[in-house]
């Protein structure tokens, strides 16, 4: 029985280091290749030894697909391709291909240059890895090889994020990556057609959350920022350089303009301007409104938002700073945080999810004292967190309602949850299994290294000869009778991997075979005091009354023909009343012939 196997190497009942292996129709695909922000050791990367203990991955994988540029989805890519070894194709969208190497380089710098780690991938490895990338467009059907095809759908979430359909024959899997089902200020909503995959592998970050309206959250955010700035406080918003940052920038930019505010807004690192430039060039990936107006006013050209310099952090007076990275686990955002944490006038707004183990996660959990470590940091020891902390979920993930929406859109047979916390998944799994969908859905949530096997039931495509099909369709009539379906008969010829269904006659001809006639003749003796002709007539009448739905002919030359069965009557001169009825039929009329011989043996009704 054909089946599809799914094994998460990362993101199984967890958020971080997304990496999911799928085996479908004899093909092996790796979906995402991310790193875990919460770890600094081996657990940072997916455990590729699951695929092979030694040697390269190339021969075990048909392709690698990266859903979007976030490091928890692509952070392990150079490690996988260059250090473990993989030379096959890596598929991602154009924006992902453009932005991913920058974030990787950033990540490498923080890890190697700042934290001083060795045995890490190098800049050259990132470059070599990117050479293996094949960019693709939305909805483009890419033929990885003769059987395996993949297709990308818009996922929202961040610029260039995509969901992927992976298809072999009639079996298919859809992997969502991260997605959101509501359009935001700069991106559109995810969309997929009714592709009815065997498995829908969905993220479930916000499996239990049903977020309030976006407008409220935005108002709330602006109010908090405004209040803090008014009382002279500083606002730190840790973000990732691309994604949420742009949405919040658009929000603050318009707000500043409307309220005529003067407090400076900064965006950390040189990446910003570059990042905004990517948005301008990939404007076709943003939402409809921005796309429509970009000629008149490019939303990514900000007037109020300026580049940040490290020294500004000590400037007096209010300011708003967007700083990377978003989980406060390293880099500039952490440095600024350390400087501002002691003042209760200041505010920290966390607009996105924080992975366990990061400083962001600790603070969000209400920790007021932090143990600081690290070589490059100025302050070591304990840090008192006095500033106000606000968590505002702006990260663009689908919430429970959104996930349900996607299920209705795609109509999968099975659901498989990844990229979420086990408890929340459990909740969503129950909800999905209770909900009434068009198709009955089983839901799986494998842990890392655990394989889920889903049996598929693919139908078998066959070439049918047009003659046979047309004949059948004509015989079936325009309105086939559902109670008495017509049975069609054909011969399936299997030759050189091709399957062709033809009529038996054609099959004989094609295979160069001659037909073998199998006939039966049966003599039935009967007393009937009539002439031969009359007896035959009586037989005809009798059969007519018994066999209602058959064609029966009385041929003048002295035979009765039922379908193709020939019936004759003879008698000898000595015993004119002893009739010998000759029945002759071919194998094709076996049932009827056998029935008639039995019937006639019982005699004719008087």
């Amino acid at each position: 029985m054909p089946d599809i196997k799914v094994t998460p190497l990362g993101a199984g009942q967890d958020v971080g280091r997304s990496c999911i292996l799928v085996s479908i129709g004899g093909k092996n695909i790796m979906l995402d290749c991310g790193m875990h922000m919460g770890y600094n050791d081996d657990r940072r990367f997916p455990d590729f030894s699951y695929v092979t203990q030694n040697g390269r991955l190339t021969e075990f994988l048909d392709c690698v697909i990266i859903s979007h540029f976030h490091l928890d989805h692509c952070g392990a890519l150079p490690y996988m391709s260059e250090m473990v070894g993989y030379d096959g194709p890596i598929y991602m969208t154009h924006p992902t291909k453009a932005i991913c190497p920058i974030l990787l380089e950033d990540f490498r710098k923080i890890t190697v240059d700042k934290k001083g780690e060795t045995n890490f991938f190098t800049s050259q490895m990132i470059k070599d890895c990117m050479k293996k990338v094949v960019p693709l467009n939305l909805h483009q059907t890419v033929q990885v090889d003769e059987e395996l095809e993949i297709k990308a759908y818009y996922a929202g979430h961040v610029l260039g994020a995509a969901m992927f359909q992976i298809k072999v024959g009639s079996e298919s899997v859809v992997y969502t990556g991260d997605y959101n089902m509501t359009p935001d200020r700069h991106l559109g909503a995810a969309w997929i057609d009714k592709c009815r995959p065997d498995i829908l592998i969905s993220e479930s970050t916000y499996a239990t959350t049903i977020r309030d309206s976006k407008r409220c959250r935005e108002r709330d955010f602006l109010k908090k920022v405004h209040e803090t700035v008014e009382r002279g406080g500083k606002v730190l918003i840790p973000v990732f350089a691309l994604g949420r940052a742009q949405e919040l920038c658009i929000l603050l930019e318009t707000f500043w303009e409307r309220m005529n505010l003067k407090a400076p807004i900064y965006f950390s690192t040189g990446l910003t301007e570059k990042a905004n430039h990517y948005y301008k060039l990939f404007i076709t990936w943003t939402n409809q409104k921005i796309r429509k107006t970009f000629v008149q006013r490019n939303m990514f050209e900000f007037k109020h938002i300026k580049a940040f310099d490290r020294s500004y952090a000590d400037n007096p007076g209010p300011m708003v700073v967007f700083a990377t990275p978003g989980m406060l686990h390293a880099g500039q955002s952490l440095q600024i945080f350390k400087k501002w944490a002691g003042n209760e006038k200041n505010m920290l707004i966390m607009p996105g999810y924080c992975v366990q183990g990061t400083v962001g996660h600790k603070i969000l959990n209400g920790q007021k004292k932090l143990e600081m470590e690290g070589r490059a940091t100025v302050i070591t020891g304990t840090l008192d967190v006095k500033l106000q902390v606000e968590y505002m979920s702006f990260s663009a993930h689908a919430d429970a309602i959104g996930i349900m929406q996607l299920i209705r859109m795609a109509e999968p047979r099975n659901m498989l949850l990844v990229h979420g916390e086990a408890k929340k998944m459990e909740f969503l799994k129950d909800k999905i299994e209770q909900e009434v969908f068009v198709r009955c859905i089983s839901c799986y949530m494998p842990a890392n290294g655990e394989t889920t096997t889903v049996v598929t039931n693919p139908s078998v495509p066959v070439d049918i000869s047009l003659n046979l099909l047309k004949r059948e369709m004509a015989l079936g009539g325009p309105l086939p009778d559902a109670k008495r379906p017509r049975t069609m008969h054909g011969t399936l010829i299997m030759k050189d991997n091709s399957l062709r269904l033809v009529s038996p006659e054609q099959a004989l001809k094609e295979l160069g075979l001659s037909e073998h006639q199998l006939r039966f003749t049966c003599r039935v003796q009967l007393h009937d005091p009539h002439s031969d002709t009359d007896t035959l007539g009586r037989i005809y009448t009798h059969l007519k009354s018994v066999l209602k739905s058959y064609s029966i002919q009385h041929v003048p030359d002295g035979t009765v023909i039922v379908e193709s069965i020939v019936i004759k009557v003879t008698s000898s001169a000595e015993e004119p009343n002893l009739k010998v009825i000759l029945l002759s039929w071919s194998y094709q009329d076996e049932e009827l012939g056998s029935f008639l011989s039995t019937l006639l043996k019982k005699g004719l009704p008087s």
Partner: protein, 636 residues
């Protein structure tokens, strides 16, 4: 399968393909050459033009290449190959009862929209007090002077559409990406990159067994668009070929060189250069070429002006379609840098764009300069103004780069003209040499093309290299032709449900060939065919009159399979023996043997292709013998 040819114009095609009960329109180009019959529409009143003898200018009419060969409301799908070939779209979608879908790529849609809006603006900003249509009546037309009298099909000339009609027409467009497989009924349509312009595509129209390729406006030159995808065109049953170069004798690279040198010469002499052009397409390449050329020619300070209602949009849009550009432009976006250098020209103020000559332009413009503006027919748009302004001075030069209009006809109303005229048509579409090489590679079974491609150009009857020579010869069409396409369909795709597939018992007939008999129920829906297992007959309800049941004739059940093979004598005898039939008398006949089973008084005739069992009054024996015989035969 039929092809209805609604346009005979080889580069502005409009064909309708009927394929598997789907009606597909391939492009709807708008032939605006009829505009040449009209006087230019000046932006400001021109005493000279209005004093010209002859007829007065009428409504901005355009020639729509269509004819009521078929009911256009039955069209299911319109496939657009590039933005030049969609200019008649509003006429089709808005006035025929069209309810189908239009497929186009995103750049085609966006730039097509710009070109349509531009056309509408050109027409609407010089409103006519009255529109005349009565002259189209044949009786009146006969009395009209000059070439207008001889113009054909004037009844098909239409008034230009409105912005509302453009918006409504374009709202029916569904966007597709290259290599996207889009299912429409039983037909799959796929656009492929054609290399001619931003988002330009060739189309594959196929079912499981038939493949039609529609090649329209393709280019193998490396300009800005993504290169032409060729390999997917292989194995086509029919290839419809349109949109070859209109200037087969001119080499685009050579023309570009000539363009630059003439431009430099004029500027050095203190004159201005006028380039009548479309607002998208070759202009990007011209700007890129000039970007490098001007500095090297020491003319770096010469200003370029691009004047069109859609100039800004066209320049902006060109920068955001990275996915549709050639490799080296695409990789610029990764840096991130704008793919076209005109961004830098604009930044450094070398290139300025204006919506029209009114407003800022008049105060800002410096001479000598280069002006890019439309419309290339010189009949409407801002170009009319520049012709009036610069035509009198022999210092100035007009350089024609667009190949769509005869430059002599275009210039006719402006004569006498002092300015220099240079004709450098740049047409990057396939030439005959390239196309024959392409066809050799992709090997379509049949080629369909417009009639002009099957003979040398009328002006050069000896140039047999400027035509298509193929084996078998291409099927030529002209306007209003209806071609039957040569297809021999033999097979159709059907799906066996897994339960049915599992129940099949294949047997090997010869090495590598197996057969299995299939008895199944056919279900056909939406052109999809599925075979299901025969449902098990409902169990006969326990009947009280059991006796009657045996009297019931057998239902018309599954037909029996055909038999094949032979029953060999010796093994058959051995088989009989094994089954307890020992007394067999074998008699040789001309065709085989007759076996007489003496105890049972049964005759079996064994021949090579036939077996005949003659058995009376012993049904169990007969069926036993039948099964023994069947063991030697193959069932089909």
């Amino acid at each position: 399968m039929k092809l209805y040819c609604l346009s005979g114009h080889p580069t502005l095609p409009c064909n309708v393909l009927k394929f598997k009960s789907t009606t597909i329109m391939l492009d709807c180009g708008l032939d605006t050459t009829a505009a040449l019959y009209f006087l230019p529409l000046p932006l400001v009143h021109s005493p000279r033009l209005s004093k010209l003898p002859g007829w007065v200018s009428k409504d901005g009419a355009v020639n729509l290449e269509k004819k009521e060969l078929l009911d256009l409301s039955t069209i299911d799908v319109i496939l657009i190959s590039n933005y030049h070939c969609m200019m008649a779209l509003p006429y089709i979608t808005e006035h025929t009862g069209f309810t189908g879908t239009v497929y186009a790529t995103e750049p085609t849609l966006q730039i097509g929209r710009l070109l349509m809006e531009e056309l509408v603006t050109f027409m609407e900003r010089v409103p006519k007090a009255q529109a005349a249509t009565c002259w189209k009546n044949k009786e009146i037309q006969r009395l009209l002077p000059g070439p207008l009298k001889d113009a054909v099909d004037v009844w098909s000339w239409r008034k230009c559409y409105s912005v509302q009609e453009v918006n409504s027409a374009l709202s029916k467009v569904q966007l597709v990406g290259y290599s996207q497989k889009e299912l429409f009924g039983a037909v799959q349509v796929t656009p492929l990159s054609s290399g001619y312009s931003l988002g330009s595509s060739n189309w594959i129209i196929q079912s499981h067994y038939e493949k039609v390729s529609y090649v329209s406006g393709s280019s193998l030159l490396t300009t800005h668009p993504q290169p032409m995808e060729q390999s997917s065109l292989k194995n086509s049953d029919v290839l419809i070929l349109t949109g070859l170069t209109q200037i087969p004798t001119a080499n685009p690279d050579g023309m570009l060189g000539e363009f630059c040198s003439n431009l430099a010469m004029t500027i050095r002499a203190g004159g201005n250069v006028l380039v009548p052009c479309y607002s998208s397409g070759v202009i990007y390449d011209l700007l890129e070429c000039l970007y490098q050329f001007m500095d090297s020619a020491n003319l770096g300070s010469t200003p370029f002006y691009f004047i069109s209602p859609v100039a800004n949009s066209s320049l902006e849009f060109s920068q955001i379609f990275a996915e549709w550009l050639c490799q080296n432009k695409q990789s610029k976006v990764y840096l991130p840098e704008p793919p076209f250098p005109h961004a830098e020209l604009i930044q450094t103020n070398k290139l300025k764009h204006y919506p029209s000559i009114h407003g800022d332009f008049s105060s800002e413009f410096r001479q000598p300069c280069v002006v890019f503006t439309g419309h290339p027919s010189l009949r409407f748009g801002d170009v009319v103004h520049f012709m009036e302004l610069w035509g009198k001075s022999s210092l100035n030069t007009i350089i024609f780069t667009e190949p769509d209009f005869s430059y002599l006809d275009a210039l006719a109303p402006y004569q006498p003209l002092a300015m220099k005229c240079v004709y450098c048509p740049i047409d990057t579409r396939l030439n005959f040499h390239q196309v024959s090489k392409l066809l050799k590679d992709i090997q379509p079974l049949h080629v369909v093309c417009p009639e002009p491609y099957t003979q040398p150009p009328p002006a050069q009857p000896h140039r047999s290299d400027l035509m298509l020579e193929l084996q078998p010869p291409p099927m030529a069409y002209r306007r209003c032709s209806v071609l039957g396409l040569p297809f021999r369909r033999r097979y159709e795709r059907i799906h066996l449900l897994p339960e049915l597939a599992r129940s099949l018992v294949p047997s090997e007939i010869k090495a590598g060939v197996s057969v299995a008999t299939v008895s199944a129920v056919l279900q056909s829906k939406d052109n999809k065919h599925v075979l299901q297992p025969v449902p098990k007959p409902a169990p006969v309800p326990p009947s009280k009159k059991r006796k009657r049941v045996t009297e019931e004739p057998p239902e018309v059940l599954n037909p029996k399979p055909l038999l094949s093979g032979a029953v060999p004598l010796e093994p058959f005898l051995a088989m009989l023996h094994k089954n307890g039939i020992t007394e067999v008398k074998v008699e040789e006949t001309a065709d085989g043997h007759i076996l007489h089973l003496q105890t049972e008084d049964v005759l079996i005739q064994l021949e090579e292709d036939a077996t005949h069992i003659i058995c009376d009054n012993n049904e169990p024996l007969r069926t036993a013998l039948r099964d023994l015989v069947l063991r030697f035969l193959q069932k089909l």
